[in-house]
Each structure stands twice: as C-alpha cells, then as structure tokens.
C-alpha cells in the first residue's frame, strides 16, 4: 500500500525544512530505523528515519528544496 512521507516538525516554531540529501533512491528497500533523507532546519542537519520497513517509490522533491511542515517529500510502500 502506498503512502507518503511528510516533512516532520522538528521544533515547535518550525515552518519548513530543506531536504538536503537523499540517502535512499527510488526502488530501494529500507528497514525500520534506516535513514531515508537528511533535513536541514535552524542549523541542524537531521537524519530522518523510517518508522517501519518498506520501499522508496518516488522522491517528490529534489535535494535543496524547501518543504513546508506536513507537505509530502516521498512516496513509499
């Protein structure tokens, strides 16, 4: 079943974050806890981990794109 990964809110006043690096490529499977991408916001580089196992279907944004909190960044299944 397909679902979306969305930009997390890393601190209460965070409005958006920049997807600075993709650590998984389309088609690549991942386990729970694997790092999927890196977000930079407020001078923090944060590795975002998978909450369950799955496969990355599509990256919806490019490295360097700013994404609003809650907006989709990737399609997974």
């Amino acid at each position: 079943m397909k679902s979306e990964l969305t930009m997390p809110k890393l601190r209460p006043d965070m409005q958006q974050g920049v997807v600075v690096a993709w650590l998984k490529q389309p088609g690549e499977p991942f386990q729970k806890g694997d790092a999927i991408y890196e977000v930079e916001s407020d001078k923090v580089v944060n590795q975002i981990e998978a909450e369950r196992q799955g496969k990355l279907c599509r990256q919806l944004v490019e490295e360097g794109d700013a994404v609003l909190v809650g907006d989709p960044v990737a399609e997974v299944e």
Binding site: P8, L10, R11, M14, V18, V20, A21, G33, A35, E40, S41, D42, K43, V44, V45, N46, Q47, I48, E49, E62, E63, G64, D65
Partner: protein
C-alpha cells in the same frame, strides 16, 4: 559528563575527533573545549566557493573545512574557543536552549552579560560572540558552538563575509550578524588560555566533569577520519550543492562576461565569447588548476 582532553589545534584532526566521538560512543554524555589554528569552516550543505574566496584563503595558509552539521560559515583562530556537547535526545526533536543555557550561565558567572541572539547564537550587547549548529542521527545529538574571545575579526570579515556573491544555488545561506570578542567584556583575562581555564572551571561546576583521554587506538581512528574525509578534496570542495556563477572578467585588453556551473567541485557548461575558457570544462574548480589552464593568475582569481 565525560570531558575529553584534547590538546590538538589541528582543524582537520579536531573535526575528525568530533565525528569519531559522535559515532563511536553512544552511551555517554561528552563535552570538550578545543581550539583551531586559522580555518574557515562551512556547513555541510553550503557552497564553500560562495562563502570564502578560496585563492585568498589558500594564500594566507588558512585551512578550509566542511563540517557535518548545518548552518553557516565560521572563521576560527586560536583566539576562538569551540565547545562540543554530545548527548542523547528524543529523535527528531530540536532544542537549542538546553545546550545554550549552561554556556550562558557560565559566561554570566565570569561577568559577561550573555544572552541568546539570532535564535541559536549567544551575544553580548546584541553582538554575537557565539554561533552554534547541530547534527542529529538516531537518538544522538552533536551540538557545537564557537566562542569569540580574541579572534582577528577583520580577518573573519574578509575571509568569510557571509554574502552569496551572486551565485545561483540551493545551498544553505549564512546569516551574517555583527560580532564582537568576549575580551571586550571580560578584561580580567589577558589571554585566551586564561579565559579557557576559567571557562572550564565554571562548566565543571555545572557538569561535574570526569576527564578522559583518548586511547592510542582511538587517536589512530580519529587520524584515519581526518585523512580520509576532512583532507579529502571531494568532501570539502566537491561537497554541497552545485551552483551557477556569472562573472565579468577583466584582462588588460578586454572586459567580457563568463558564466559556468560547478557540480561536485567540477567546472561545467562554461559560456564565454572567449573560446579559451571552455577548456575549463571537466576540471576541478581549484585555483591551481584554473590558473594552469587559463595561464593568468589575475584572471583565474576573478573566477573565485
């Protein structure tokens, strides 16, 4: 809290030490104070070439480094003290105050009216004396910051002015802010070393440090990271997002526009009415290489 003893002032070694401690030790809270000989350090996803005029830095024997945390570019010299705090955290929960408050309290006890400025910096009288940044992986966070005590501020401004210099890029921007040295408000310390010792003593009261030195094999592991990553051209200069640059080039005979892109440190898509410049395509964007291909030092430097 473990206090890691580290007498090194080698910026490459110190960057590697931080990374080693962040990844190899998972079950302890760690703190260390450290200093670097002159170096410009950019954030992980910055365009180093926009942040610093690379030929000038190399000529002045200032090291250039890319770190693993976010944020902007900073200049260190022996008048600046860095602090690093590595601890566990809730995943994906960013908090600066828990790290800034103990430092602000220590500085206040020493007599500096320190407060948070610019979100995650520390300032006195509205001027910044400390910038900080973080990296979070799983349940560990590395928080580090600078403390300007007696840094050559004019050199800081010339080498890392925080302007993007017209490059088109998705790189993380620096956030320039007026800066000052702590020495101006802490005249009781004659040297950075005296301030270092007093700051350590204040922090020790708050953290009750247990001092620890690195074992031989740990030092070897740090040196390996320094060599393989922080001395590696691809990490430092090839890292960060690509960018497009346009420059007006002046030669004794002519003035003309030149545009090019740089991806992973490699020059591409050179556009110029002067065909000689297209020979730069596919080469590293580094002063020595550009000079060799163009054949003129003064023209080559205008590309940076």
């Amino acid at each position: 809290m473990l206090y890691i003893e580290n007498p090194s002032t080698d910026p490459y070694y110190n960057q590697a030490l931080e990374e080693y401690l962040f990844t190899a030790i998972q079950d302890e809270d760690l703190f260390f104070l450290w200093r670097n000989t002159p170096v410009v350090v950019c954030g992980k996803y910055q365009n180093l070439f926009a942040e610093v005029h690379v030929p000038t830095a190399l000529e002045e024997k200032v090291a250039l480094l890319r770190r693993i945390s976010g944020g902007g570019t900073v200049y260190h010299d022996l008048g600046n003290i860095n602090y690093s705090l590595i601890t566990s955290c809730e995943p994906a929960t960013v908090d600066y105050t828990q790290f800034l408050n103990p430092m602000i309290a220590a500085l206040s006890r020493l007599g500096a009216p320190a407060e948070i400025v610019a979100g995650n910096g520390i300032g006195v009288d509205g001027k910044k004396i400390s910038g900080s940044a973080q990296r979070m992986v799983k349940r560990r966070v590395l928080h580090h910051g600078t403390l300007l005590f007696d840094t050559d501020l004019s050199r800081l401004r010339t080498l890392a002015d925080g302007a993007a210099h017209g490059d088109v890029s998705k790189a993380t921007a620096s956030n320039p802010w007026p800066v000052t040295n702590l020495r101006t408000v802490l005249p009781q310390f004659d040297t950075t070393e005296q301030f270092f010792d007093a700051l350590y003593a204040e922090l020790d009261k708050a953290f009750s440090f247990e001092r620890r030195t690195l074992r031989k094999e740990e030092e070897a592991a740090v040196r390996k990271i320094a060599e393989e990553k922080y001395h590696d051209w691809d990490w430092t200069f090839g890292g960060g997002p690509g960018f497009e640059r346009t420059r007006t080039i002046q030669t004794p005979e002519d003035t003309f526009p030149l545009s090019f892109t740089v991806k992973k440190g490699i020059i591409q898509e050179v556009k110029s009415e002067q065909p000689a410049f297209t020979a730069l395509n596919g080469h590293r964007f580094e002063p020595e290489t550009v000079r060799r291909i163009i054949g003129s030092r003064s023209v080559a430097e205008q590309l940076f």
